[in-house]
């Protein structure tokens, strides 16, 4: 009998981490008694979490996308440029499609030209940013429509609108991952590419689709962030891809592929947002913040290694004990 995963706390270590972190901060700093602090954490978390949902699919399948930060800059510029002409709904659709198109390009490089994913996307990281610079001539772009700022800055029934987006998209992402053939194929590819190929999954197509999904979610993140900032420019959000990947990995998605959870990614994004807020409140030097984040990242990356090492040890010990028992019985 397996419990539904949402209630299984063994699968939700990150949730406990967030709760503990908040408890410690609340003890140390009265700012963490305010409701507004938590609402602002949730808002900031959403900007990373939304792109994290797409990245979760990518990392589950055993790949990476390092180009999301640059892609985000390019898409945010497109979004700001068109939102006045198109209105909100069409802007959401178009920026998502545009993101999916960028992602498809990444996917084609990887699945058709067979360039290892992280290097191909490292190259695209530079290309998208150069394109963003070229289309804007290095100048920031702004929109004139005040209503559009509500998407990133407004509240719906007291909840930050970006967080509403995050909740809906997390539910959608979980559904796609667990209940659709595409989601199962993503998991299968991550588990064993050879086995999936032999069992008839069209790897190249699924991989291209995965990168398109990453692009689509990055598009929505670009919409939220450009609205939040009232503008976009070619130098925005440098290092964004690390925040996104860090959230996915801290959420327990295995770098080896095959395992992962969209819900945990979103919670991990909340964790990082809390960490950033806390470091600001405790006046940690902004350069020191990078070092802290890098170390948390290293810790997150080694988590899976540690977990499998401990698991292996336990299994070996159990096997040895069983062998011993069998030998004694014989």
């Amino acid at each position: 009998m397996s419990r539904p995963p949402w209630f299984d706390l063994r699968e939700r270590g990150i949730l406990i981490a967030v709760a503990l972190f908040w408890a410690i901060c609340a003890l140390a700093n009265p700012m963490f008694h305010e409701e507004s602090t938590y609402l602002s954490i949730l808002r900031e978390a959403s900007f990373v979490g939304v792109a994290g949902i797409g990245m979760t699919f990518c990392i589950i399948s055993g790949d990476f996308d390092l180009s999301v930060g640059s892609m985000l800059s390019l898409l945010a510029i497109a979004c700001v440029a068109m939102v006045g002409h198109t209105g909100l709904i069409l802007a959401v659709v178009l920026v998502t499609l545009l993101g999916a198109a960028c992602g498809t390009l990444n996917g084609a490089l990887i699945a058709i030209l067979r360039i290892p994913a992280f290097i191909a996307t490292l190259a695209m990281y530079f290309i998208y940013r150069a394109l963003a610079y070229i289309v804007t001539n290095g100048q920031p772009v702004q929109f004139q429509e005040r209503w559009f700022t509500a998407v990133g800055n407004g509240n719906l029934a007291g909840i930050p609108i970006p967080f509403v987006y995050l909740l809906i998209l997390t539910a959608a992402g979980t559904y796609i991952l667990r209940r659709t053939p595409f989601g199962r194929q993503v998991l299968a590819i991550g588990n064993s590419r050879r086995a999936s190929e032999i069992s008839g999954i069209r790897i190249a197509r699924i991989r291209i689709l995965i990168f398109a999904v990453v692009g689509a979610f990055t598009g929505i993140a670009a919409l939220l962030i450009s609205s939040r900032l009232w503008s976009a420019n070619s130098g925005m959000k440098i290092g964004y891809e690390f925040d996104v990947i860090a959230a996915v990995v801290l959420g327990g998605t295995s770098l080896a592929g095959g395992k992962g959870s969209v819900v945990n990614t979103s919670i991990a994004a909340v964790f990082f947002a809390s960490l950033n807020t806390a470091m600001n409140m405790f006046h940690v030097d902004s350069y020191m913040q990078r070092v802290v984040i890098g170390i948390v990242l290293l810790f997150a990356f080694s988590l899976n290694g540690i977990r499998s090492y401990v698991g292996e040890r336990l299994r070996l010990r159990r096997a040895a004990r069983d062998l011993g028992l069998a030998a004694r019985r014989a």
Partner: protein
């Protein structure tokens, strides 16, 4: 067995470099003037020297993405310490710091068992953070003690110092790669890590050594760079790792590990410089140059995977 395909594979980059040089020479005659050639070689040195180290990392089947940050940290260390320790003393300290950071990379990879790519991705953030903390985010400009100028303007046995250093590094790299146990082990690990482990190669120690090599060669590159800029800054060298990896792969070192090409790396670094220099002489603006570099990188990678496919087909 050296079939024509194999020959093409080994000497491909020389061919491309020659053709590119010829094309640019037709477009802008200035590229082949004596002064510009010295200029070309000097500019190529920074990427080339770090790429010599990267050749070992990629041959061993790994990566080092943290070198851009190590480059930045080197300029900061030199910018801060040259006034106190003199040029050579500061370089010695920088080499020591680089060696330690490289060893840290190696220890993370071997002890925590993280893929080289992600491990160095994390240390890339940390090291740059260290560089920025060390200089408090400001420029460490060298006003006094300009001995460091020797590293660009000086000469060793009549050869401009950067060119001499590049040659020295590559001769050493080739000798180490070809004739020392370390070189053999690196190739062995890159071909098949499990087999290497089983046959008694000290895999962990060799991998740590590889990261020390990439870090220290990067410190040498950083020394040349500081000597040109006469300032240290934590923001230097963003994307440096990409340029260096491009040079290494373009030079014929295979991403699948086990096959390096030291001289190819040198020629590829030159090729990249020729392209950048040519685009400059043609008057292309900086963002277009970055775009061009990204595209060249993609082409290099596509070629690498094409050659790999051909190789598999032949088996």
């Amino acid at each position: 067995m050296r079939g024509p395909a194999r020959l093409l594979e080994s000497y491909f980059v020389y061919l491309v470099a020659a053709v590119t040089l010829a094309v640019f020479a037709l477009l802008t005659p200035n590229i082949l003037t004596g002064a510009n050639i010295i200029n070309l070689l000097t500019n190529a040195a920074t990427v080339a020297i770090a790429a010599a180290g990267m050749t070992f990392a990629i041959t061993a089947g790994g990566f080092d993405l943290s070198i851009g940050s190590i480059l930045a940290l080197t300029t900061c260390v030199l910018g801060k310490l040259v006034p106190h320790l003199g040029a050579w003393g500061a370089v010695a300290v920088a080499l020591l710091v680089g060696g330690v950071l490289g060893a840290v990379n190696g220890l993370i990879v071997t002890r925590l068992r993280i893929q080289t790519f992600v491990a160095t991705l994390s240390t890339m953030i940390v090291y740059r953070g260290l560089a920025l903390i060390y200089t408090a985010g400001r420029d460490a400009t060298l006003y006094a003690n300009l001995d460091v100028k020797y590293f660009t303007a000086g000469a060793l046995l009549g050869v401009p110092f950067p060119i001499a250093l590049t040659l020295l590094v590559f001769l050493t790299a080739y000798a180490v790669y070809r004739w020392t146990p370390f070189g053999v082990f690196v190739r062995g690990i890159g071909s098949n890590q499990v087999a290497a482990q089983v046959s008694g190669i000290p895999v962990d120690a060799v991998l740590i050594g590889v990261f020390v090599v990439t870090a220290t060669t990067t410190v040498l590159s950083g020394t040349l760079l500081t000597s040109q800029l006469l300032t240290g800054n934590g923001r230097v060298g963003l994307g440096f790792e990409l340029e260096v990896i491009t040079a290494t792969i373009l030079g014929g070192t295979s991403l699948s590990g086990g096959r390096g090409n030291v001289w190819g790396t040198l020629v590829a670094a030159l090729l990249l410089t020729i392209i950048a220099n040519g685009l400059n002489l043609l008057g292309l603006a900086d963002p277009y140059q970055r775009l061009a570099k990204g595209l060249i990188f993609i082409v290099a990678l596509a070629l690498d995977s094409l050659l790999r496919l051909l190789r598999e087909r032949r088996r």
